[in-house]
């Protein structure tokens, strides 16, 4: 287990949180979208994280990784919300059904914003970890000076 691998672990955390934030932003942007290529209103999406082994691109020390316990994170799945759309009575709307109701995405702004804050905090924590690992590496190098 080298400190360089820890940099990859932090990077995996950053990219996972970024993927999550991207989907949350997509959900917010499409909160009023009634028409999609699949038909029907937009459905909110969310990520599922899972542990993932990462290796440093430089040090191929796989055997060393096996029992170190240090693992990165990755996006294993993107789940699409299957809840019933919200029906609003708008007879003039081009997407209105014969009964005059339009299907809108089931959107909860508070939920999306709280998740977005979580993603942002998680990203920052990973940046802090990476900075700290970087400092440790630099201090080790400065021993040679």
């Amino acid at each position: 287990m080298s400190l360089f691998t820890s940099l990859s672990v932090s990077a995996s955390g950053m990219s996972a949180q970024r993927a999550r934030a991207e989907l949350l932003v997509e959900n917010i942007a499409n909160s009023e979208t009634t028409r999609t290529p699949e038909g029907g209103p937009y459905r909110r999406k969310d990520v599922v994280f899972q542990q993932e082994n990462v290796t440093s691109p430089f040090a191929g020390v796989l055997a060393d990784q096996m029992n170190s316990g240090s693992v990165g994170v990755g996006v294993s799945d993107i789940v699409v919300d299957q809840s019933e759309p919200e029906m609003r009575y708008l007879p003039e709307h081009p997407d209105a059904g014969p009964d005059g109701y339009v299907a809108f995405p089931r959107f909860n702004p508070a939920e999306e914003m709280v998740n977005l804050m979580g993603a942002s905090n998680g990203y920052q924590a990973n940046v802090a970890a990476m900075t700290s690992i970087k400092e440790m590496l630099q201090q080790s190098i400065s021993l040679l000076k």
Partner: protein, 114 residues
Amino acid sequence: MIGQIAQSLGKYMDVLAARQALITSNIANIDTPGYRTLDLNFQQEFQNLLDNGGDVPGAPSEVEGLRIKNDGNNVNMDRELRLLAENSIRFSAASTLAQGQIALVKSAIDSLQG
């Protein structure tokens, strides 16, 4: 004598680095369902390296007594960030001390060249 201090410092930094790697992994997995916080017993691992040699601490264990969230994850961001800062400062102190040890040897060599 100098060699022994430098060696102990080296092992101290090895354990710190191993622990920092675990903290990094805990932070990366802060939202991973089912992930449990990993850590190592610092004093025990350090003592073990001093007594038995080697430079790789043993396998980490799950930390007890942390609140488990609804998704089965028990990473506490505050705990991890505190440990991250603490470890970083300890490492900084150890590397400064090690630098001092190296400077001592260097000055001895320089005085011979005189």
